[in-house]
């Protein structure tokens, strides 16, 4: 494993963040920060400067798509993968249009999460 990638995990559900962290344990992806809503995510993105963001959509206060817009405004090269239960055409289109690099519909299984992270790294971060 050549390097570790810093990951920010954003989800309003503590349980879901636990599951994602458990899935990434012992992989090349290191969860360096967590956030529970969109506002926190934007703040945490500034502070933790992650290589990748896993971003939920359905969250209280500020939803994921709005947070995505603010993150992309901070850093137009941000690599954000949406991880959401909401697998509607509108949600996917909206997220990709706003700058998300990829979209994973919940439930999240370890295998598919690692696969989408690795694909995204290959495509956008030229490892």
């Amino acid at each position: 494993m050549s390097r570790k990638y810093k990951v920010l995990v954003v989800d309003d559900s503590t349980a879901m963040r636990m599951l994602i962290k458990a899935s990434l344990q012992d992989s090349e992806f290191d969860v360096v920060a967590e956030a529970g809503d969109g506002g926190e995510a934007v703040q945490s993105f500034k502070v933790s400067a992650p290589d990748l963001v896993l971003l939920d959509i359905v969250m209280p206060v500020m939803g994921g798509v709005e947070a995505l817009g603010q993150i992309m405004a901070q850093d137009k090269n941000a690599v954000v993968i949406m991880v959401s239960s909401l697998g509607t055409e509108d949600a996917v289109r909206e997220a990709l249009k706003t700058g998300a690099k990829n979209f994973l519909q919940k439930p999240v299984e370890q295998e598919s999460l690692l696969k989408i992270l690795r694909n995204t790294v290959d495509l956008f971060m030229g490892r």
């Binding site: 309003d12 559900s13 503590t14 349980a15 879901m16 636990m18 599951l19 359905v58 969250m59 209280p60 959401s84 239960s85 909401l86 697998g87 509607t88 055409e89 509108d90 949600a91 519909q105 919940k106 439930p107 299984e109 370890q110 295998e111």
Partner: protein
């Protein structure tokens, strides 16, 4: 009331006692070995390997054999041998009840026929009642996802037992607002033990009491069901979006559509508040 399995059916008819049913199901667990245990017994796998496969199995939809072959821990010949052995040693609950002298073979066989008839009748009735609901389309999509997601994330085999407008008394009620072309709350009403079991299976941790984390976990399960339901609506050209899930209390509204559900563990309800 849809009978869950033959043991429950016999118990409800007072043909066997609770103790007899418990003893028989325990015996069944003892004698019916899992593929992992059989593989260890035959020396095909180490215990650590079997555990690793079981763990992965809990996290995915895959079967034990599929994982073992993908990981080159078993070859297909060994798997065939294990499956045959499992089939050969498999003992059904009825057989154990008969052997343990809780019911005669003649009586059991007669009851099994009645049980199968009742199962068919109640499945038919549920289907007819569901179709007669005015919001059938949406309800069908969300019920379908409820069954699939509960099986996928919480390994819980569930079936629909009733359709109606009366709400069951449940300890915990989770709701999520669906908005768009149609607005309603998708609601999951669960007794306490079901919250703990779902949490345990979803997070793969011990859940002895219902705490914040358990409620959060079930909220997320509801969110995954609703999100998948919305995806189905979207595939049919409808717009749908979600508010975050929440825990609610109080009685169900009068116009709530209540779908009775049943798993081995408990009875619970899926409701739609239009």
């Amino acid at each position: 009331m849809g009978a869950k399995f033959i043991g429950q059916f016999l118990l409800e008819k007072e043909l066997i006692t609770r103790e007899a049913l418990l003893a028989a199901t325990e015996q069944q667990l003892r004698v019916n070995l899992t593929l992992g245990a059989l593989a260890v017994a035959k020396g095909f796998l180490s215990e650590a390997q079997a555990d690793a496969i079981n763990l992965e199995q809990q996290r995915s939809d895959k079967r034990f054999g599929e994982i073992a072959i993908a990981r080159s821990m078993l070859n297909s010949q060994q798997l065939d041998e294990l499956l045959l052995a499992q089939k050969a040693q498999r003992v059904f609950l009825g057989e154990i009840l008969i052997q343990q002298g809780h019911i005669s073979r003649e009586k059991f066989e007669a009851e099994l026929v009645l049980f199968n008839q009742e199962q068919e009748r109640s499945a038919e009735l549920v289907k007819v009642n569901l179709h007669s609901l005015p919001q059938y389309g949406v309800i069908e999509d969300f019920l379908d996802m409820t069954l699939k997601i509960l099986l996928r994330v919480a390994k819980e085999q569930v079936k629909i037992t009733s359709v109606g407008y009366t709400a069951l008394q449940c300890a915990y009620t989770f709701a999520q607002r669906v908005k768009g072309d149609q607005q309603f709350d998708y609601v999951l009403a669960l007794p306490e033990n079901m919250v703990r079991i779902l949490c345990q299976n979803f997070l793969r941790i011990d859940c002895a009491v219902v705490n914040e984390l358990a409620l959060d976990a079930i909220g997320e399960v509801v969110n995954i069901i609703s999100g998948s339901g919305c995806a189905k609506l979207s595939a049919r050209g409808k717009e749908a979006t979600l508010d975050p899930p929440r825990v609610i209390s109080g009685a169900a509204p009068a116009n709530a559509v209540c779908i009775g559900m049943s798993s081995i563990e408990a009875d619970f309800e899926v409701r739609f508040y239009f």
